[in-house]
């Protein structure tokens, strides 16, 4: 099982738009909420009301500042399992509990056979796997495998909880193996990229870059309107002369 499937039927994954993410943590808490009672139940928390609160989360939101000086930006950066095509987190697993599903490419941990050796978390360059100290097994993003095919919930809700919750629409879910899918199209249009491309795990999830001041309006509006020529008189006089046109109520 630990071997990777040669080809997955689909490449299900997320596209995260860093241009839109406002860093509200909705995707993180909705993920925690869904998954603490779902496939990976529970996602335990330690010292929850004490000095050192921590717990298993499958999605975490960083904030970075990028660039220097006036051109710099604040970027909110959600990070979760990228469901890589060729990840070592699967192949290092001694039990086969960590596996990549042949039908859709979702990387899962079987919580009934995981022995909690943590080696898969060591193999993940993205820090996406979190050990549950209470449950003794590794937890990770399941892409809400228990939602996306779930016929007991309305069809429109069959998306990962993080996508369902995201208030700004910064997260999209779909088949990145299908070039015609909406997610693939937005990756193509916006220059979507891989995290740590150089590492070679071939992440399925993609990130869309922050736009840098190139809004659709800009060409039109950055040009200065011509200032009113100053033949004579003060600005007040000129304004009053202009405003003295007949305007009916």
């Amino acid at each position: 099982m630990t071997s990777l499937p040669e080809n997955t039927g689909k490449k299900l994954g997320l596209v995260i738009d860093l241009d839109i993410c406002v860093g509200c943590h909705a995707c993180a808490t909705s993920c925690k909420e869904w998954n603490t009672g779902g496939y990976s139940a529970p996602l335990s928390d330690h010292d929850p009301y004490g000095a050192d609160p921590s717990g298993a989360w499958l999605n975490r939101i960083h904030s970075y500042e990028v660039g220097e000086g006036p051109g710099s930006k604040t970027v909110h950066f959600p990070r979760s399992c990228l469901h890589c095509e060729e990840p070592d987190c699967v192949t290092v697993c001694p039990t086969g509990a960590s596996y990549k599903r042949a039908e859709d490419g979702i990387v899962l941990v079987n919580p009934d056979t995981c022995i909690g050796c943590k080696l898969c978390s060591w193999a993940c360059p993205y820090g996406a796997r979190e050990y549950d100290f209470d449950d003794g097994v590794m937890k990770k993003c399941t892409l809400c495998v228990d939602r996306i095919y779930n016929e007991t919930i309305p069809e429109e809700d069959r998306v990962p909880a993080c996508v369902r919750a995201c208030p700004t629409g910064a997260r999209a879910f779909g088949d990145l193996g299908d070039p015609s899918s909406a997610v693939s199209q937005s990756v193509a249009a916006r220059g979507g990229f891989n995290l740590l491309e150089e590492f070679g795990y071939k992440p399925v999830n993609k990130y869309l870059p922050p736009r840098t001041g190139a809004s659709d309006l800009d060409p039109a509006i950055v040009t200065q309107p011509e200032r009113i020529p100053k033949p004579d008189g003060s600005a007040v006089e000129r304004l009053f002369a202009w405003a003295d046109q007949a305007l009916s109520r």
Partner: protein, 950 residues
């Protein structure tokens, strides 16, 4: 390869879904609560709900941990140790209610004003306000006075609306969005959804905020302004628009008081008031006839310019001229404001040019005919796709009222109020400007055991509406006095201070709900704690009795004498009513309810239930039948259905009438709540397309608003560029009229009560040595904690369990600190020790931190060594509720002189590197735990939902 394990892909989420309304903040989103075996399995947004349209924020999705918090109060309690000790004895509800009834009844019989009843983040103000009216005390308000009254009052006096509950940007059509002073806001999900839409369409977002976090992080352009100078920035934008003649004159003539004539009569009692005709309507000069005409007449061509001589010889000039002169003055030239605002003149010019370009060159035309208030048919709706939103960063300054007015005037000059792509009102707004609602509670109206004549809070039009008996304030918070004449939301932040000083009078009972006044909801926390525990010479507390209702063991609980434990939001009935704070959108008039989706496992009661019960026990007319029996024996839901404010108008607007066929007005419907539950706990009435825009002047809308009871008559709302009530107060300060400010206040009133908005420096800094306190200190709301009433949430506190003081890298280099070093932050009030984090995205003269993360040891079920208590800190400790002593020895409230809005963003500080112990200071003694069981050291929530064969 072995086989993939079989997974149950079709595990049902729960066994039941209950739709109700979130209460993790004030946003009031619709939620679907999935329950399994009676426990909450999952909470998601309700896709049909007008507020959140299915999405849910970081707080809402953490509701499970709020609901099951170990800090929940379990049973009524009476204090047995000294105040602050947290020593309580559990009592029965009967004893609690009897005690409360005795205390309250005695005061009501003797002197009702000796009850101060203030509610914090209350979403039931139509009920709590009614209760206070029925009780007969003048002392009631919610927390608006330290929240955003400047924003509300500035908007309502100007154009009968404001931001948030009053109106939103046209998220679907706007092309240019200017956001002031908001990292996160009340309207959590609507703003996020809206920003997502703007981004998707490539609209430009410009954020004006000293700090680049939250929404400011995704803005296309960030203006890192110096705090308290937004008025200068906006003034400079207006200057540029006037300079370049980029204003919508048609719009001004049609919808504003720009052509109204203002009497120019320096020194006289009518100076600066509107010239009025015989019918008391303001007048304009009609260029068509060459004569004066009523400003309300449509058959005119009003002049925007030109001084006119009135029939009686007085001179009058149009508002437009006065306003243009104000903003064309050099004071507001971009170059003049650049150094104070920290915004480059070229950037100001460019933004002004962009606003004008988008408003006028990229106008939107909708093929939607509509009819204006005068009955004239228009083929199209013309839109100026520029919109704005502002909140706390503008309103929590002592110049906030005038700055808010300026922002609205900027929108009005661009013609973008309630047009396609601009700002859009949400029903029941717009109201008249100023709203037709006067404050009630003058001393002569307060009589034992008698209700007050009307609601406490309103909008004075001049000194005659102040709640003063001679010089004696009627209200304990000194609302509607010369300290804060237009304090439309009261001054909750002054109540405890004034009560402890017995100024203006002693009170007997302080009754509060959901307001953490002993901690993060007060300025000068140590002083507030002293006030709550102050004793008279006879050893009795100066505030003799404190009743408090809260769901959690907050820092305020230990200071109360009688605790009425509230429920969590999933255990309660609630009514989010069009009578107070509705959930409407621009296209929907909407209200909603909460209902118990899980049964309390503790002996707690919803505060509103308790209030209705107390109302009956105190024999208040509105809560008792003629035979003395309770009028609402079914409690809050009974009240929600059967209470009528006026015949046919009740708390809920949907499914009225005996058969549920009426909307807005209609007899009570016994099955009303069932209809709400069937509809997902809300009601929404969709406006017709022809009512969708220009609501201030749209006949179809105005007529409908009258039908719904939102407006008294279908007259249009005329935008008040020039605010006459403000001038009325100024005239009093100039020595006119029978009610004038005392000498100590005269100059303050004269200066700040300018009927045309202007910028003045925030008050605190003008009274301090700026060299000693060179920096501004402000807070920002973290999106995942905003309004989430505390840190007991085991998930949210993992995200932020301690706050840092964020400072600019250059400041860090200057004082020699790096990330996580400790510093002292000092104000004229005190000092706080905290840890820094360096960043680029902050105004270099500004330091900031996340709001309300610091907690007191003992509270919220957190351990004494929690980061919240030992590294987390509040800026509140540094903020004085009073300004430094000025001339004459009087210490004014640290508030806006017009509205009394607490000016907690005016704070000035100095910073220096700290040595010594690595924990925050001041570090308060633990509060005791109120008898709560120790919190668990582990949570494995959801393990019980694990099913075999997954």
């Amino acid at each position: 390869m072995s086989k993939q394990p079989a997974i149950d892909l079709n595990d049902p989420v729960g066994d039941r879904v209950a739709k109700t309304t979130c209460y993790m903040c004030a946003c009031r989103c619709g939620i679907n609560v999935h329950l399994r075996d009676g426990k909450v399995r999952y909470i998601e947004g309700n896709r049909d709900h007008p507020v959140n349209q299915g999405v849910l924020c970081g707080k809402g999705s953490a509701g499970i941990m709020q609901h099951y918090s170990p800090a929940r109060l379990r049973v009524p309690m009476k204090r047995v140790g000294p105040r602050g000790s947290g020593e309580f004895e559990e009592i029965s509800w009967e004893e609690a209610l009897t005690t409360a009834t005795d205390w309250l009844g005695e005061v009501r019989t003797n002197d009702p004003k000796r009850l101060a009843f203030f509610t914090g983040r209350d979403q039931s103000q139509s009920l709590t306000g009614l209760w206070a009216m029925q009780y007969g005390t003048p002392n009631f308000s919610a927390h608006g006075g330290f929240c955003s009254v400047n924003m509300a009052a500035g908007g309502l006096y100007t154009f009968g609306g404001a931001f948030w509950e009053f109106g939103d940007p046209d998220w679907e059509l706007t092309k240019y969005f200017l956001l002031f002073g908001v990292a996160e806001d009340h309207a959590s999900n609507p703003i996020k959804i809206g920003i997502g839409h703007l981004k998707g369409r490539g609209a430009k977002i410009v954020s004006v905020n000293p700090v680049r976090t939250g929404y400011n992080a995704v803005a296309d352009e960030w203006v890192g302004i110096r705090p308290g100078t937004d008025g200068l920035f906006v003034g400079a934008l207006i200057h540029e628009l006037f300079q370049n003649q980029k204003i919508d004159l048609d719009y001004l003539v049609r919808y504003t008081n720009a052509p109204w004539l203002v009497i120019q009569h320096p020194g006289a009692a009518d100076d600066g008031l509107f010239a009025r005709g015989e019918d008391r309507d303001p007048i304009v000069f009609d260029k068509a006839t060459g004569d004066f005409a009523s400003a309300m007449s449509v058959e005119t061509t009003p002049a925007l310019t030109g001084a006119r001589t009135l029939a009686d010889g007085r001179t009058a000039r149009p508002v437009f001229e006065l306003m243009a002169e104000r903003f064309l003055s050099d004071e507001y030239a971009p170059e003049a404001v650049a150094s104070q605002t920290g915004v480059d003149a070229e950037q100001i010019r460019r933004i002004a040019a962009e606003l004008a370009e988008v408003a006028f060159e990229q106008e939107i035309v909708l093929d939607q005919p509509w009819t204006d208030w005068a009955g004239r048919r228009h083929d199209k709706m013309i839109g100026r796709p520029v919109s704005m939103h502002a909140m706390r960063g503008v309103s929590a300054h002592s110049n906030g009222f005038q700055t808010c007015r300026m922002i609205h005037i900027l929108q009005i000059l661009l013609g973008s109020i309630d047009c396609p792509g601009g700002f859009r009102y949400k029903p029941p707004y717009p109201k008249q400007a100023p709203p037709w609602l006067l404050p009630q509670g003058a001393l002569e109206d307060i009589r034992p055991r008698e209700p007050l004549g009307g609601p406490h809070l309103g909008f004075p039009l001049g000194p005659q509406h102040l709640l003063l008996d001679g010089d004696k304030p009627s209200r304990i918070d000194k609302g509607f006095t010369w300290d804060a004449p237009m304090s439309a939301h009261g001054l909750m932040h002054m109540v405890i201070n004034n009560a402890a000083k017995k100024d203006p009078y002693e009170i007997e009972v302080l009754f509060m709900y959901m307001a953490n006044m002993a901690w993060n909801s007060s300025m000068n926390v140590p002083g507030t704690i002293d006030n709550l525990t102050a004793k008279d010479d006879d050893g009795q507390y100066v505030i003799p009795k404190i009743i408090y209702s809260d769901a959690y063991y907050s820092e305020m609980v230990p200071y109360a004498d009688l605790i009425l434990p509230d429920t969590t939001y999933l255990e309660r009935w609630d009514c989010i009513s069009l009578l107070d704070r509705p959930i409407s959108t621009a296209e929907l008039a909407a209200d909603s309810i909460r209902h118990p989706v899980v049964k309390p496992d503790r002996d707690v009661r919803g505060f509103q239930e308790v209030l209705i019960d107390l109302g009956a026990r105190l024999a208040m007319p509105a809560f008792t039948n003629e035979d003395g029996s309770p009028r609402y024996p079914g409690g809050y839901p009974d009240y929600m259905v059967n209470h009528e404010r006026k015949p046919g108008i009740g708390p809920l607007a949907g499914w009225r009438g005996a058969d549920g066929s009426k909307t807005g007005q209609g007899a009570p419907n016994p099955k009303q709540l069932e209809r709400y539950l069937e509809n997902g706990a809300f009601f929404a009435h969709e406006l017709k397309p022809e009512q969708a825009y220009f609501k201030h002047a749209n006949r179809d809308y105005l007529n409908w608003a009258v039908e719904m009871g939102f407006r008294v008559e279908p007259r249009p709302t005329i935008f008040q560029l020039y605010c006459e009530p403000v001038q009325a107060f100024r005239l009093a300060a100039e020595g006119h009229g029978t009610r004038q400010p005392p000498e100590s206040h005269r100059e303050r009133i004269r200066k700040h009560f300018d009927p045309l908005p202007f910028w003045y420096a925030p008050l605190e800094e003008t009274m301090l040595d700026e060299g000693a306190y060179p920096l501004h200190a402000i807070t920002q709301r973290p999106m995942h904690m905003y309004h989430s009433w505390g840190s007991q949430n085991a998930w949210l506190r993992q995200i932020t369990a301690a706050n840092r003081l964020y400072i600019h890298r250059s400041l860090g280099a200057k004082i020699g600190v790096v990330d996580d070093d400790w510093v002292w932050l000092q104000s004229h009030q005190g000092q706080v020790k905290c840890q820094v984090r360096l960043m680029d995205g902050v105004n270099p003269d500004t330091v900031w931190t996340w709001n309300a993360i610091g907690k007191r040891r003992g509270a919220w079920g957190l351990s004494d060594d929690s980061p919240e208590a030992n590294q987390g800190f509040l800026l509140n400790h540094l903020i004085s509720e009073l300004l430094p002593e000025g001339g004459g020895g009087y210490r004014y409230s640290n508030s806006d002189p017009i509205t009394g809005q607490a000016a907690w963003f005016d704070l000035r500080v100095a910073i220096k590197k700290a040595d010594g112990a690595h924990e925050t200071e001041p570090l308060f003694e633990p509060t005791g735990t109120g008898g709560l069981a120790p919190s668990p050291d582990k949570i494995a929530y959801g393990a019980e939902f694990k099913r075999s064969g997954r």
